[in-house]
């Protein structure tokens, strides 16, 4: 049982913001993906912290699901990156703007 969770939440926020900055500032698709994983981990951390704080299992279950979804997402995402790299020989996300209106 944890009595104080502010430090955990603060750490989670810092990691989350770092992930956000990584997504926005890096042009390397793999790096962006890693930043997304960082954000997910930060969210997981705060989920676990709150779960422990309230003495409830649900938060942990949710983290379990997040990890499972993340695994699926990484598998698909990396497959797409490989596919894009095959066709364009580049994983610079700035090159991928064919969808502009």
């Amino acid at each position: 049982m944890v009595t104080q969770i502010e430090p955990y939440v603060m750490l989670s926020i810092v990691l989350f913001v770092l992930g956000v900055m990584g997504v926005l500032l890096r042009r390397n698709a793999i790096l962006i993906f890693m930043s997304i994983e960082l954000m997910l981990n930060a969210a997981n951390l705060s989920l676990v912290a709150f779960a422990s704080y309230w003495g409830q299992t649900s938060g942990q279950i949710f983290v379990f699901f997040v990890i499972a979804v993340a695994a699926a997402e990484v598998a698909v995402g990396l497959a797409m990156i490989v596919a894009i790299f095959r066709t364009r020989q580049s994983i610079n996300v700035d090159d991928l703007h064919q969808m502009e209106g």
């Binding site: 926005l24 996300v93 700035d94 703007h97 969808m99 502009e100 209106g101």
Partner: protein, 810 residues
Amino acid sequence: MENLGLLAPLVVLIPSIGAIINIFWGARLGEKWVGSIATIASALTFGVVVLLYVFMNYNYYQGVNVNPPVFESWINIPSAGLNIPWQQRVDSLSVTMMLIITGIGTLIHVYSIGYMHGDERYHRYFAFLNMFLAFMLVLVTANNYLVMFVGWEGVGLCSFLLIGFWFDRSGVAWRNSLAARKAFIMNRIGDFGVIMSMVLMFAVFGTLTYYEAGEVANPTYNEHLVEEIQHEAEAAEADLATGISEVTVGEVANAGEHTAAEPAPAEGQHAAPAEGEHETGPALPATSNDSIVYEDLGVFSRAQILSEQGGDVVVGPFTMPITTALTLITLFLLLGATGKSAQIPLFTWLPDAMAGPTPASALIHAATMVTAGVYIMVRSNVLFELTPTTMAVVALVGSATALVGGFIAMGQWDIKRVLAYSTVSQLGFMVAAVGVGAFGAAIFHLVTHAFFKALLFLASGSVIHGVEHGHHHVHEHGHDDEHDDHEEAFDPQDMRNMGGLRRRMPVTYFVYLIGTLALMGIFPLAGFWSKDEILADAWTAGLQDNNVIGYIVFGLLLVSAGFTAFYMWRQIVLVFHGKPRTEAAGHAPESAKMMLVPMLVLAFFSFFGGFMNTPRGVLGLEKIFGPHELTEWLESSVMRVHAGEFYLWIAILSLVVAIGMAIMANRIYARVPVFNRKRDPLEMMEATQQMWTMANARLYWDNFYDRIFVNPFRRTSAWLATELDDRFLHDWVHNKVLWNGFNAIAHFLSRDVDQKVVDGAVNGAGRVTRWGANTLRRSQSGYIRVYAITLLFGVVVVVLVLLLPLLQRG
């Protein structure tokens, strides 16, 4: 045996099937098949009715209700408390009617096979006949007024169809169609009465059913019956004890002999448990309705109870004494009866209805359908008995109709028209009998009249047939002569074109004579007994109840009996005696056997039919035929029937009147062998000229109706058609107001609203959308990071919005 009553639905079903077959496949089947199918259907129905008659005998004449399988709840609206089953009533009255309808119907079917031979709508005719039988049987077997009304309307329809059967015959097509229409419209006026009567009945009594299951129609009769049965049983036991093995069960329970081994009891009866030793035959009938609650009684018993209680009834917005309500109900029923049974004031359709084929006239407009009014009044005898006012009206209407019909018949030339007015007159006799409370006599006269009037019509058909054939014969042989005018003007029904047919058509003459004598009321033919009973009952009514109406009726009926003898003998003389007045009459052949056989059968019944109700004390005849058989038989279902007394002086008086008038007619018409073909001797005599003109002009009755109702109606409808409909509605409202107004509104809508406002809005929406899209598309750069930072921006905003209130609360 006790289940024979369940055959009742077949009575309606069999002729319906015949009609359906003939309607849909008749055209392909050919005359032989069509005629046989229709006739067999009719004969089968007659067979079923005979079985029903056997059942009635077995069941101590007690009526039963039969629920046909499919229609068990015909009209069932629980929320309105309305449950009218399609229920059939098999009792002595309805079986009597059924026997007449199917028996005479079958004979007329046979006759029609010959008579209608060669008609282009042969199958249709037989389909109509079968359909008529079905509806007529619905009418008489119904156990409530609504089902009865179905049959009532159905026979009206069939009557319309058959009167207008030759709606396209050259020269008379319009007359036939108009006659059909006239009959239909006149009957609708009567139907209004029936409907009003039913509505009132439902409002007052809450039911339309005649008798509920287990209800006793005539408790007094049943009491006597039970006593008699028990007495018989005791006597039989006593006989057994003394060693006499021959047991004769009394005439009331005579069916018991045949059914000694059959188990008890009949369905629908309140089983009054029989004595232990009396195990054969059906259970003894109940003797009263006291054990049945008001809600389980039929309309008649309810009427009796309410009438005994007195007091007021509430009918919709009106409150009236029960007597008033009953009087209204019966008066409306009388209106219906005057329509269907051709009484004053609605009788004028019946003579015109002779436009139809003669066998149809015989069946519908002489023997059966026109008696429906009498039947329904007899069926409602309880209601009529409760209302003396209506009874007086009925008596007066009936006797007046008898007089008027007889009078007009004396001045007609058309052979069928004479018979038609005779029918009106005889129906007047029946209605008058109802009016003086002689319900049994009314039915008795209905039965005998059905025999001899059907016979007369068939015979007249035979005469017409013969004259027509004779005319064709003459025409074929003498077509070199210039006879065109002659041919067009020739009317085979005009008695002036006949004469001397006695030698040409001996059988027809014979049966016609029997029919005429029966109708005149000559002893001992059928008409004598029935007419005499009506007269005697009228006299009794006057004598016993000190009722002036009875004497009036007696007088009027006696006079009309004289008229009857006169016009009928006039007809005999004009048609059969003397010498042929035209070549056609001279060459008329005797009709085919197919037509003669039914006439002979009917002649037999016209002769002997009266013995079914022989009064006591006439030459010991009742010992041969049994006294008052018909009355006793009817007593089980008609409450106020009573055996009429026999007055010798009345019988002699009426015989004298009839024979005297016949002799007078003979002297007037037979004296002049070949008189002026266009004019009647009476017309040429100063003293009788006016009277004869009145009779020939039918007392100006039709002209009166034309003046009062038809012409104003025509003028009104013409005015409505030209002025209101054409000028106002079509020319002004439709053309000016609606068309122009519509045009103006449409122009406004299309030019101003649609083109400017709607199109502008739609085009404007398109322009705005295009401009907005052009502006917004620039934001879609396609760079992921732009989308991501937009998302982040949103996240920050949402986080702030969510968290700031939390801050404040803290």
